[in-house]
């Protein structure tokens, strides 16, 4: 089990170098002994995992295995549910996001999330939607905001399709376009990590393909973590894959290796489709 899992060394307040190293280089995000609770039961237990900068990590596993719960613990969304809490540490560049005194609202400005169902704000135009995340950052004047909106839309591969109708309602877009709009909205405030929770689950194959191409582009600037039900998608887009089962991290490692020569029998059973 130890070979493929990225483990941070014992924690001391970070002096200089980031506290976590991986096989390849410094980890952007690192998770240590994370357990997410719903009241007295745990949704995901004792997970220790690292995410390298500018990589795509896929979280796979059957329904109810805890991968979405784990994802939502990373940007402190899990605790929004009544009675929910998290124990353990999530380290962004060595800083524990769950340290006492840390404001979850600020955490969510550093780690962005795109959800399964596209959720454009219905009363806002396309441009206003993209700029929504900018309102809680440093003040921008009109020209700066317009420039940021264009930049985000370009990086989300949506600019050409909407540049002539920026002030039209976001609801006029198709499902795939709305999802790319949500991506643009999420990346506009320049988070460091992008969490994608089954982003293509409600899209058609064309829309899905577009988002997957987008992910390849996005990893140049962000660290991407994607939860997906679709094993082929995981194989297509990710560099690293982590397999969850029944609330535990079973195995994690380079995608190619996990799919062709997994270390655990459970992993092999899942990726070959014997259960799921």
């Amino acid at each position: 089990m130890a070979e493929a899992v990225l483990i941070p060394p014992p924690m001391r307040p970070a002096a200089s170098a980031p506290a976590v190293t991986t096989a390849a280089g410094p980890a952007r995000l690192a998770v240590a002994q994370l357990t997410a609770w719903y009241g007295a039961t745990s949704g995901v237990r004792d997970v220790t995992l690292g995410f390298e900068a500018n990589t795509v990590t896929a979280l796979i596993g059957p329904s109810g295995c805890g991968k979405s719960t784990f994802l939502r613990s990373l940007n402190r969304m899990h605790e929004l549910v009544a009675g929910a809490r998290v124990t353990g540490r999530v380290l962004l560049d060595g800083h524990d996001l769950y340290a006492p005194g840390v404001n979850p609202i600020q955490v969510r400005r550093r780690i962005g999330m795109v959800f399964q169902k596209p959720t454009p704000f219905p009363t806002m135009s396309i441009a206003e939607n993209v700029a929504a995340g900018l309102r809680v950052g440093p003040r921008l004047n009109h020209a700066e905001r317009e420039a940021e909106v264009e930049r985000a839309l370009r990086r989300a591969a949506l600019w050409d399709e909407v540049k002539d109708r920026l002030h039209r309602s976001a609801l006029e877009l198709s499902g795939g376009q709305q999802q790319r709009l949500c991506v643009a909205r999420t990346i506009a405030p320049e988070p460091e990590v992008l969490l994608l929770d089954e982003p293509t689950a409600s899209l058609d194959p064309v829309g899905t393909g577009r988002i997957e191409d987008l992910i390849h582009e996005l990893k140049r600037e962000f660290t991407v973590i994607i939860v997906t039900h679709n094993l082929q998608q995981a194989a297509r887009v990710s560099d690293t894959t982590a397999f969850f089962y029944l609330g535990e991290l079973v195995e994690a490692g380079p995608t190619a290796q996990l799919f062709t020569a997994p270390a655990r029998a459970q992993t092999e059973a899942y990726v070959t489709g014997r259960f799921g």
Partner: protein, 333 residues
């Protein structure tokens, strides 16, 4: 959470990056203020209710001290002598509402069944909208119509025809001049019908389709399915709708005072004039000469307040049980 992960700045970091880590600890004060403001605004209804109850008791106190519970059982209302007994008012309020319910309930439930079961699809929304429109007409307009259309109609057209057959009944005895409990009851029926119909309709819509299908599968006609299965299923909700209508009828003022005759008399006869608490207040308050008279009217208002609060609470309990607290159920009120 362990405490050894204290956030320490990395040596010689960029100032901007340093600020970003400090920002992680910033407190959001807006949330506290927002919740506080909203809580204060939300306290308005309890404040108002307390004030209403308090002011009513305060205004009624002289009359309460003077008459006590006898106010509710005595019949003499004489402002000159300073004697005030509200029994005719209470009787009239209940009697007129009873008449209204007897007329409105079959019609309203019939409309509800029509809208949910028998009406052609295309007619459902227009007819439902028109029925709702009945609720939008202001009370004073019903009163106006009552004074100039309904009462003359009853007096000149209907009564001469019906009198030979019915005048021997105690409820139809006496000379009919027009303004009467009957006229008030009919107008009240029209006014409360949309409320009973709307809530009944929602209750019937909430009956699971499986119930109707089961009855039809057993060979029942559409009507039999309604009568034997659907209506019983929605029984407590419809009961709630009826009590809701009662609550409204008890408090109606303008239309009633314009057609009921405004007389402090108790009579079983529908064709005699009568009085309700609301009508008496509307009619006498402006001209009340003594403070005791005013206080007696406020006492009557207090009685009406208590009756309607109790009746409405009862209605809501019944409807809530059926609608299970859905917002749609309570917004019909």
């Amino acid at each position: 959470m362990t405490t050894d992960a204290a956030v320490l700045p990395e040596p010689a970091p960029q100032p901007a990056a340093e600020d970003r880590w400090k920002a992680l600890r910033m407190v959001s004060r807006g949330d506290v203020a927002y919740r506080l403001v909203l809580t204060l605004l939300a306290l308005a209804p309890p404040f108002l209710l307390a004030m209403i109850a308090g002011e009513l008791v305060r205004g009624a106190w002289p009359a309460i001290r003077r008459f006590g519970a006898g106010f509710l059982t005595h019949s003499v209302w004489d402002p000159v002598l300073g004697e005030f007994g509200a029994l005719p008012l209470i009787f009239g309020t209940l009697y007129a509402s009873l008449v209204a319910m007897l007329v409105a309930i079959p019609l309203a439930v019939g409309v509800a069944i029509f809208l949910t079961e028998f009406a052609p699809r295309r007619l459902r929304t227009p007819v439902a909208t028109l029925v709702e429109l009945l609720a939008a007409v202001p009370s004073v307009i019903y009163g106006l119509w009552g004074v100039f259309v309904l009462v003359p109609l009853l007096r000149e057209t209907l009564w001469p025809v019906v009198r030979p057959a019915l005048a021997w009944l105690p409820i139809f005895q006496g000379a009919f001049y027009g303004p009467s409990v009957l006229a008030a009851g009919i107008i009240l029926a029209v006014m409360i019908l949309p409320y009973i119909a709307a809530v009944s309709r929602e209750v019937l819509l909430a009956v699971p389709a499986a119930q109707r299908e089961a009855a039809l599968a057993l060979g029942a006609t559409r009507w039999e399915a309604v009568w034997t299965v659907i209506l019983p299923y929605g029984r407590s909700g419809i009961m709630g709708a009826v009590i809701l209508g009662l609550g409204r009828a008890l408090g109606e003022t303008m239309a009633v005072t314009m057609v009921i005759g405004n007389t402090h008399e108790i009579s079983l006869s529908l064709v005699q004039p009568g009085y309700t608490i609301a009508a008496a207040i509307a009619n006498e308050f402006a001209e009340a000469a003594t403070s005791l008279h005013l206080s007696a009217l406020v006492y009557a208002a207090l009685v009406l307040f208590v009756i309607t609060v109790v009746v409405n609470a009862l209605a809501r309990v019944l409807i809530w049980r059926v609608a299970r607290g859905s917002a749609a159920g309570s917004s019909a009120i």
